[in-house]
């Protein structure tokens, strides 16, 4: 196996075995770990306090124990997190950060205090009124509050110097991730949709300097590589919470779909905004968050998500948009009718599929996926109007 393939394989395995990966990173670095729920946790602060930040994005199984706290109409990602926490899967964590962007997250943070008393939880509330001058000051206060909690947990202070180092480290990691998504789109024969997802997902479980170097190495190899051997992949922009479960990824690969770019909460949304160079680190972190646009978890007047998706399609030359809807995710569900209309107006075809992370099979969507791909392959333009399009909506 040549070098990039070895490294790619390494990251994919890391993504497939979160617990082992985290334990290995803890052992290797001698650091304790802090869990980071979706979304936008201040990983820099966790790092500066001397902890490994570990992403917590659910998992394939939901044990009945989550039913002690959550009704079945709660999103599968949060039911999985609650199940795993109750089952002791996260016992290696010294603490957990939960930014409560939606109503479900608010409740999960509160239930955590009751149900998992052995792992301290630090709920965070990000500002929603991002246009208000008061929002930046509030967010900075929120970061300071969390910084103090992490300092207490670590039993040591965070120096300004270590914070600068951590921020720079994460900025570099995010820039390498951004570069990777661009390169991956040109090499779908080597970086399939599934591989792309796993490589990006492994970020959440690995020691970040190690992850950054490996990913950077992959980028360098991709840059040296000639163009893709697959001369005619179907390129799509994908939008939604996350590209899971595996059954979906397998289907994307079987249909040779290439991710031209993503607008996923678990992937590009976390690294697409570059930090500013002005102000203190906490101000730069706050600005990076407040500059985010087109995100369903952040209130935005004028809702630019549709416009953003259309731009992504045009810039990447994608043939259409794949909408992966995590069932019961209200922020995502609310955005769909609005950007759907904009995609329609722009004549951009799309496929809407509703998923739960716990689904082990995705046969119910395979026919529609095949039909969508075939249409994209044959006629890129004709799907933009008329009733054909609605046939691709899952209702």
């Amino acid at each position: 196996m040549d070098k990039p393939q070895q490294e790619i394989g390494f990251l994919c395995r890391a993504a497939d075995h979160p617990r082992e990966t985290v334990l290995r990173a803890m052992e290797k670095t001698g650091k304790r770990a802090v869990g980071c729920f979706p979304l936008y946790t201040p990983d820099e602060l966790v790092d500066a306090a001397g902890f490994l930040p570990v992403g917590m994005w659910g998992g394939p199984g939901v044990s009945p124990r989550s039913g002690q706290y959550l009704q079945p109409f709660c999103c599968s990602v949060m039911r999985a997190n609650m199940s795993q926490a109750l089952d002791g899967v996260y016992d290696m964590l010294s603490g957990v950060l939960i930014p409560t962007f939606c109503d479900t997250l608010k409740c999960v943070a509160e239930n955590w205090k009751a149900g998992i008393p052995n792992i301290p939880v630090f709920p965070m509330v990000y500002p929603q009124n991002v246009g208000s001058a008061a929002a930046a000051a509030y967010l900075e206060d929120e970061f300071i509050r969390i910084k103090e909690k992490l300092e207490q947990l670590a039993g040591r202070g965070i120096t300004e110097e270590s914070l600068v180092e951590s921020f720079d480290r994460f900025e570099r990691c995010r820039s390498v991730m951004r570069e990777f998504t661009g390169l991956a789109a040109s090499h779908p024969d080597l970086i399939s949709a599934k591989t792309r997802h796993k490589i990006l997902k492994s970020y959440y479980f690995m020691d970040k300097p190690e992850y950054t170097e490996i990913l950077n190495g992959i980028n360098e190899e991709l840059k040296k590589r000639k163009g893709s051997r697959d001369s005619n992949p179907v390129r799509v922009v994908v939008t939604g919470l996350m590209l899971e479960p595996d059954a979906l990824l397998n289907m994307l690969d079987a249909n040779r779909l290439c991710i031209a770019a993503d607008d996923l909460a678990q992937e590009s949304r976390i690294f697409r905004v570059q930090g500013s160079r002005e102000g203190t680190v906490l101000q730069r972190m706050a600005r990076r968050f407040l500059d985010q646009r087109g995100d369903p978890f952040l209130c935005e007047q004028g809702k630019s998500r549709g416009k953003h998706l259309i731009e992504m399609v045009r810039q990447t030359g994608a043939a259409g948009v794949l909408i992966v809807m995590m069932k019961f995710c209200e922020p995502e569900e609310f955005d769909f009718p609005v950007y759907r209309k904009e995609l329609d107006q722009a004549g951009i075809p799309y496929l809407y599929i509703e998923l739960e992370q716990s689904m082990s099979q995705a046969e119910s969507i395979s026919t529609r996926m095949e039909g969508f791909v075939e249409v994209l392959r044959n006629t890129n333009a004709s799907l933009g109007n008329g009733s054909d399009r609605s046939a691709h909506l899952l209702r």
Binding site: C74, K106, S132, Y138, M325, E333
Partner: protein
Amino acid sequence: MTSKEMLNQLLDQHYQNAIEAKQQGKLVAWATSISPQELLETMDIAVVYPENHAAAIGARKCALELLEHSESNGYSTDICSYARVNLGYMEVLESPAGNIPLPDLIFCCNNICNTVLKWYENIAKELNIPMILIDLPFNHEYEVTEQNVRYIRGQLSDAIKQLEKLTKRSFDYEKFHEIMKISSETAGWWKKASLMARAKPSPLNGFDLFNYMAVIVCMRGRKEGLELFKLWVRELEERKAAGLGPWKDQEEKIRILWDGIACWPYLSATYKTLKKYGINLVASTYPDSWTILYEAGDLDGMARAYSSNYVNRNLDYGVDNLSDLVKEFSVDGLIFHSNRSCKLMDFRQYEVIRRVVERTNATSVIFDGDQTDPRAFSLAQFETRIQSLAETVEEKRKAGA
């Protein structure tokens, strides 16, 4: 005039005023139910509350058509049914339950949930109108922190500037002061009315809270609203003095606390089921949600008060609050509405039930329903749960005796 007659008159007047304001070219706002309407009243902006309207549509059993309209636009059935009703109404603009004018601005406060952020953001986008947001961070700490108060206070100042820009008029702080005073006073009388249910038997039929609630939402800052609650309290005091219970034809046998929003499409069916067993609703989390008290002129106090409502508070507060209500109102049983529309209330319920029951020894039941979607409720299940509640309370009484 009885308070009930006055209530209906005020509600008619409220909607009529909004329609006339629109016709006269005045600004109309759509606002969330626990928002600082004081700012809008001061600016003489007509305000309509989509939650009130959606509840009325639900109660008149005409929600389904609007729900289906939204669903055909791509709104998932998992989304809050108030939002689906309203987003449907926004296009259909016709309901047998009464009509409201389209807004010129949106006034949104997320102290009731983050769902309203998405819902109102969509209205503003679709109608291409400005949205004024007051973001009230969820209180994961027991009390509202100074950090939150500073942020909210800053936004209140921002909102005033936005309103000045929109109306091209300067903000009248004297009038604002007066409206703040009336609002606090009205809230005080609303609370007073609800406290009448502490008497045994309660002179208050608790389902009336669901009806009078419409006015505490939409006329808190108006003298007419204040007068209504004063009148209602007088009536309840008279009933209490005469030793009257909630009903003429039924005795109050069991006193319950209701957690969650009403099932509007089945308001009468749920009410009758409870009454059949002599069950009176004496307490709920509603009264305190609009007991928004602060000193007139104190913007920090106003910021804190608007962030202090039950659903914006943490689980420990919720447990203390319900447990205190059980004691204060001599509650025998708790009825929890697992409401498909309201994730924020639902996903804390199981833990709240465990702790409140442990602390108070009250009997509890939970039923599945929805605030406005008639498809998510089964009367048979509701009745079975209520029957079991009644039996358990009786058994406990016998065992106690």
